[in-house]
C-alpha cells in the first residue's frame, strides 16, 4: 500500500465516530520464503498479510484491538466501537500518554526499488542453484531464502501520520559434511543471485574446514567472534540491559554503573547504510540516531515518553536496529594477531543466566576452529560458554568492520577479538 492509499484508509477509519483519541497502525507484508534441505526444496510459502491495530484512549485509559480484514468496513466499524467500549472498562494508568500528532516524512531508508521485482520463480531458481552447488560439492545444504516487501503506516486523531515501504532479505545456509558443518548468511534490504551464491560458497568452505573436529578442553581463552555471534549476543544484552527506567529503579546491570565498557560505540540509527530500517515507531514517534555506548561510555538508555517526562530526560524510543562500531581490522588480521585462540562462526541458543551481571550462556555452532600462532589450524568440537557481556565488551582488543546480520532484528556488527572468553563444557 503506498502513502496515499494508507492515508485514505486511515483517514476513513478516523472518521468513524468515536469519543476519545484513536490511533491506527497498519502493517502489510508479502513474503516469499523458500526453505531447502538435503539439496532439495522442502517448503515454499508466499505469505500476504495485513494487520490493522486500533488503539483507543480515553484520558488515562487505553486499549487496542487488531484485525486482519482491511476490506471489511463493517468489521472495522464494529472494531472501533469495541475498542472504545473495552477502554471504558480499563482502570486508569498514569503512564498512558496522548498521541503525538506528528506528520512524518516517508524517509524509506530501507526501501530498495530493485527488490520489488523479485518473484516466486526468482527465489525458487536461486534456491535451486544453491542446492546444485551443494550437490556438486557433495555436501548437504539446508537453508532459507526469504524476501519480504512490506509497508507500515500510522495515523491518529491528533493529526499524526507516517508511512514507509521497506524490504527485508534473509538468506542463511548450513552446509553439512560427514562430521562437521559450516554456515553463512546474507542479511539486508536487498538480495541478488550473487549474494546467494557467495554465501553458499562461504558455507561450503566453512564446512570443508570443519570436518573431524578435535576436542579443545574448555577454558578461558581468546576468541574471535564473527558478526553473527556478536549480533546474537549484543541483541540479547540490549533487550535485557539497556532500559533507562530499569537502570533508575535498580533493576538493571547498569544501576550505579559508572565505568566504561571497552572502547566501542553501540548505537541505533534507521539511516545506517549497512542495515537501514523504518524511521518511526509503532506509536508514530520519529526514530533518530540514539547512542547507547559512546566509545565505551554509557549514555542514556532507551526511555519511553512517560519515564522521560517524569524525570526530565530525553525520549529515546526502543530502536529498530543495533549497530556496534568496529575498528575495521580484517578477519585475516584478527586471526594473524592471535597466538592461542578459538574462531567462532556462530552462536546458538543464548539465554540469560544472571541479569545483574548481564551474564549469558550459549553454544558455538557450524564452524568452530582452533587458532595457533596466527593461523587456523584445525576444527574443534562445539562448546558451551558462560560469560558476562560487561566483561566481553571490556575485553575486546580488536574488531572488524560492521556487516549486516540478524535474522530477527536488523543489526550491523563487526567481528570481535575478545580475551579471556569463558568456555565451560563440550557439546558432542
Amino acid at each position: 500500500m503506498n502513502r496515499q492509499q494508507s492515508q485514505d484508509l486511515i483517514a476513513a477509519i478516523l472518521e468513524i465516530p468515536h469519543e476519545g483519541e484513536l490511533q491506527v497502525l497498519l502493517n502489510g507484508v508479502e513474503r516469499l520464503g523458500t526453505r531447502f534441505n538435503d539439496c532439495a526444496i522442502s517448503q515454499n510459502v508466499l505469505k500476504q498479510q495485513a494487520t490493522l491495530t486500533l488503539s483507543a484512549r480515553l484520558e488515562q485509559k487505553k486499549t487496542s484491538i487488531s484485525i486482519n480484514a482491511l476490506d471489511d468496513q463493517e468489521l472495522i466499524k464494529r472494531s472501533v466501537e469495541q475498542v472504545f467500549a473495552t477502554c471504558r472498562h480499563m482502570p486508569d494508568d498514569e503512564e498512558v500518554m496522548p498521541a503525538l500528532g506528528d506528520v512524518l516524512p516517508s524517509l524509506e531508508y530501507a526501501f530498495n526499488a530493485e527488490s520489488d521485482t523479485i518473484e516466486i520463480e526468482t527465489v525458487g531458481a536461486w534456491a535451486a542453484q544453491a542446492c546444485s552447488a551443494g550437490a556438486a560439492a557433495g555436501i548437504d545444504l539446508a537453508g532459507l531464502l526469504a524476501h519480504a516487501k512490506m509497508f507500515t503506516a500510522y495515523g491518529d486523531s491528533a493529526g499524526g501520520f507516517a508511512h514507509e515501504r521497506y524490504h527485508r532479505s534473509d538468506y542463511h545456509v548450513t552446509a553439512t559434511g560427514t562430521d562437521g558443518s559450516g554456515w553463512a548468511e546474507h542479511q539486508g534490504v536487498s538480495i541478488a543471485q550473487g549474494d546467494v551464491m557467495a554465501a553458499t560458497g562461504r558455507a561450503i568452505d566453512k564446512c570443508a574446514g570443519a570436518q573431524d573436529p578435535t576436542v579443545f578442553e574448555p577454558r578461558p581463552v581468546t576468541v574471535i567472534l564473527e558478526p553473527q555471534a556478536v549480533g546474537d549476543l549484543m541483541a540479547m544484552a540490549f533487550w535485557y540491559g539497556f532500559d533507562q527506567r530499569a537502570r533508575d529503579e535498580g533493576r538493571s546491570p547498569f544501576s550505579d554503573f559508572d565505568a566504561t565498557l571497552g572502547r566501542l560505540s553501540f548505537y541505533s540509527d534507521p539511516a545506517e547504510a549497512t542495515f537501514p530500517t523504518v524511521a518511526f515507531s509503532s506509536d508514530g514517534q520519529a526514530l533518530a540516531k540514539s547512542v547507547w555506548l559512546d566509545e565505551g561510555k554509557l549514555q542514556q538508555l532507551f526511555t519511553n515518553r512517560y519515564w522521560a517526562n517524569k524525570n526530565g530526560l530525553a525520549v529515546k524510543p526502543a530502536p529498530n536496529n543495533l549497530v556496534l562500531s568496529g575498528d575495521g581490522t580484517s578477519l585475516e588480521e584478527l586471526i594473524r594477531s592471535t597466538e592461542d585462540g578459538i574462531l567462532v562462526t556462530r552462536f546458538w541458543y543464548i539465554r540469560s543466566t544472571d541479569a545483574r551481571t548481564l551474564g549469558f550462556t550459549g553454544m558455538t555452532r557450524d564452524g568452530t576452529y582452533r587458532i595457533e600462532n596466527g593461523e587456523v589450524t584445525y576444527p574443534v568440537v562445539d562448546m558451551r560458554w558462560n560469560e558476562s557481556v560487561l566483561r566481553v565488551l571490556d575485553n575486546v582488543v580488536a574488531s572488524g568492520k560492521p556487516v549486516a546480520t540478524g535474522e530477527f532484528m536488523a543489526m550491523a556488527m563487526p567481528a570481535l577479538k575478545v580475551e579471556e572468553f569463558h568456555f565451560s563444557s563440550l557439546s558432542s
Binding site: G33, T34, R35, N37, D38, C39, A40, I41, Q43, N44, V45, L46, Q48, Q49, K62, T63, S64, I65, S66, I67, N68, D71, Q82, M90, P91, D93, E94, E95, I120, E121, V123, G124, A125, A128, D140, A142, L144, H172, S181, W183, E249, G250, R251, S252, W348, R351, T353, D354, R356, T357, G359, T361, G362, M363, R365, N386, S425, L426, S427, S428
Partner: protein, 482 residues
C-alpha cells in the same frame, strides 16, 4: 464453511494435484497485562483467513488469504500451484511420500466452562491488580506484574481424501511475578497458573493472592541467598522445572523432521538418529515418557492435526528405552511406519504444518513416594523449582538449565535458598541418572505456549508434566562469578 474449502480441493484436483488440503481459521485472542497498581495493556485480536496446500508432481505449494470468497479461493489455489512448480526446480528424489489416512469426519470441542471472552475486564483487572498489590506490600518488591492470556481457535479442515474436520479450542494462560531490589542485587520470582485448554474457570482469586504472597517473600529471600556451590550434586526437579527439560531434551530431540535434517539450518538436528529406534537407552528404567495428544485439557489436544490425522497416544521412551518419534504424514515412511503419529501443526492459517512436540510427560513412579521421601535420600543436593535460564545445543545433547528458585538440600531437608544455580548435562547422561520419581499423587501438568520452531518461526503450544524427580550426581555450575 466447508463448501468453499471443498471448492479449493476440487480446484486442486482438477489441476492435477496428488493431494490438497484447505484450512480456514478464526482466531480470537485477548491479553491483559498488569504493572504494579494498573493494567499496562489490554489487547484483543480477531484474525481470520484460509490456507491451501497442494502436492503437485511431488512438490509442495502453499498460499493463503484473509479474503474468504469463491473468487479468492480460485486465485489462492492458482498461486499455490505456481509455488509448487517453483518448488519442483529442486525436487527431492521421488518427491514427497505421503502416508495414507482414511477419510475422517470429526467435530472436536475443548472443555470451556466459563468463556474467558465473556468475563468482564474489571474482573480480570481485579484479579491481576489484587495479586500485584499483595506482592507490593513486601517492601523489597519494586515491580509487580502479571498477565492473563486467552485464545480461541476455530478450525475447519477439508482434504482431497474426503476428510471434513472441525475443532473449537479455547486455551488460557496466566502468570504473576515480582522483582525484588536490595543487597546490591535484584531478583525475580514468578508463579505460573498452569496453561491449559480450558476457560476462565481455571483461575481463582484466592489462589492468586496466596501465590502472590509466597512469590514476593521468595523474591526477597533470593536477594540474600548464597551463591550456589559448584560440582557434582544430586538434584531434585519439581514438575514445572522438569517439564521444560522434557520439552528441550526429549520433545525436540524426537521430532522426526529434525532427525531427517529438515530443521538443520535453524533449530538443528538431533542425536536421536534412526538407528537408535527400539534399543537405545535414553534413560534409566525409571523413565517412561508418554506422548498423548488426547490428554484432557492438554494444549496439543485439538482433535486432529493439520495433516488431518486424529490425536493419538504413544510411548516415546519406555522403561528407559527409546521407542519412536513424533511424526507427520510426510515423514512416517522414513521409519517404516505406515501411519503418521498425528503431530503436525501450523500456528496460523498462513503457515504450513510442521512436526511439533505433542503433549509429552514423564510417567509417575509406580510405587508410593512423596517429595519428602524423595528428598530424605539426598545428603547434599539442590532442589530446582520453576523455569529459568535454558539452553541446549543443536543436537539436543549438551544442555544447561536453571530454576526460578533453587534450594540447597542438606541431610534430606531444604537448607536455604541458593542464587545463580544451573545444572549442566548431556541428555542421555541426565536421564540415565534418574533414580526415582514421585507417584501419581504428585504429578502435575505444565503448559508451554511459546515453543518456537520452523523457518520462518512458528509458535506452538503443548502440555508437559512430571512428578518431583531425582537425578544423581549432576554437574552444577553457576551463572555469576563469586
Amino acid at each position: 464453511m466447508f463448501d468453499l474449502l471443498k471448492l479449493a480441493c476440487n480446484s486442486a484436483t482438477r489441476a492435477g494435484c496428488q493431494f490438497a488440503d484447505a484450512r480456514y481459521l478464526s482466531i480470537r485472542k485477548q491479553r491483559v497485562v498488569s504493572r504494579d497498581h494498573a493494567l499496562s495493556s489490554c489487547s484483543d485480536g480477531d484474525d481470520r483467513g484460509f490456507g491451501v496446500r497442494v502436492l503437485y508432481q511431488g512438490a509442495w505449494g502453499f498460499a493463503s488469504s484473509p479474503t474468504y470468497t469463491a473468487d479468492e479461493i480460485e486465485k489462492v489455489v492458482a498461486r499455490a500451484m505456481r509455488i509448487a512448480r517453483a518448488s519442483a526446480m529442486a525436487l527431492r528424489e521421488d518427491g514427497v511420500k505421503w502416508a495414507p489416512e482414511p477419510a475422517l469426519t470429526l467435530d472436536f470441542k475443548s472443555t470451556c466452562r466459563q468463556d474467558p471472552f465473556a468475563v468482564a475486564l474489571e474482573d480480570k483487572a481485579d484479579l491481576l491488580i489484587a495479586a500485584n498489590e499483595v506482592m507490593l506490600k513486601n517492601k523489597s518488591i519494586k515491580r509487580a506484574q502479571g498477565f492473563l492470556s486467552f485464545k480461541r481457535v476455530q478450525r475447519w479442515y477439508v482434504n482431497t481424501e474426503g476428510s471434513e474436520l472441525h475443532s473449537d479450542v479455547t486455551s488460557s494462560e496466566s502468570a504473576i511475578w515480582a522483582i525484588a531490589v536490595g543487597n546490591d542485587d535484584f531478583q525475580e520470582r514468578d508463579w505460573k497458573a498452569p496453561a491449559s485448554n480450558q476457560g476462565f474457570e481455571c483461575y481463582r482469586k484466592q489462589e492468586f493472592l496466596d501465590q502472590a504472597e509466597r512469590v514476593a517473600a521468595e523474591a526477597e529471600e533470593k536477594l540474600s541467598a548464597r551463591l550456589s556451590p559448584e560440582g557434582d550434586f544430586d538434584i531434585i526437579t519439581d514438575s514445572e522445572n522438569l517439564s521444560l527439560t522434557i520439552h528441550e531434551s526429549v520433545g525436540h530431540a524426537t521430532e522426526l523432521d529434525r532427525v531427517m535434517g529438515y530443521e538443520v539450518s535453524m533449530a538443528g538436528s538431533s542425536f536421536v538418529t534412526r538407528d537408535k529406534q527400539g534399543d537405545f537407552r535414553y534413560g534409566s528404567d525409571q523413565v517412561t515418557l508418554m506422548a498423548d495428544n488426547t490428554l484432557e485439557n492438554g494444549l496439543a489436544t485439538q482433535g486432529f492435526d493439520d495433516d488431518g490425522v486424529p490425536g493419538q497416544r504413544w510411548e516415546i521412551v519406555r522403561d528407559g528405552i527409546f521407542q519412536t518419534y513424533s511424526s507427520g504424514r510426510e515423514f512416517a515412511h522414513y521409519i517404516g511406519e505406515e501411519r503418521s503419529r498425528g503431530s503436525c501443526r501450523a500456528d496460523h492459517w498462513s503457515s504450513i504444518p510442521i512436526v511439533r512436540i505433542p503433549n509429552l510427560f514423564l510417567m509417575p513412579g509406580k510405587t508410593p513416594l512423596s517429595p519428602e521421601e524423595l528428598m530424605a535420600d539426598v545428603k547434599h543436593g539442590l532442589y530446582f523449582e520453576g523455569m529459568d535460564s535454558f539452553s541446549i545445543d543443536q543436537w539436543r545433547l549438551n544442555f544447561q538449565f536453571g530454576g526460578n528458585a533453587v534450594w540447597e538440600i542438606k541431610n534430606g531437608k531444604k537448607a536455604g535458598m541458593l542464587k545463580a544455580a544451573l545444572y549442566q548435562s548431556r541428555t542421555p547422561t541426565f536421564w540415565n541418572a534418574c533414580d526415582a520419581t514421585c507417584d501419581e499423587n504428585y504429578w502435575q501438568p505444565h503448559g508451554v505456549t511459546n515453543c518456537g520452531k520452523g523457518d520462518p518461526m512458528q509458535i506452538a503450544q503443548m502440555t508437559h508434566g512430571a512428578a518431583p524427580t531425582r537425578f544423581r550426581k549432576i554437574r552444577i555450575c553457576r551463572g555469576r562469578d563469586s
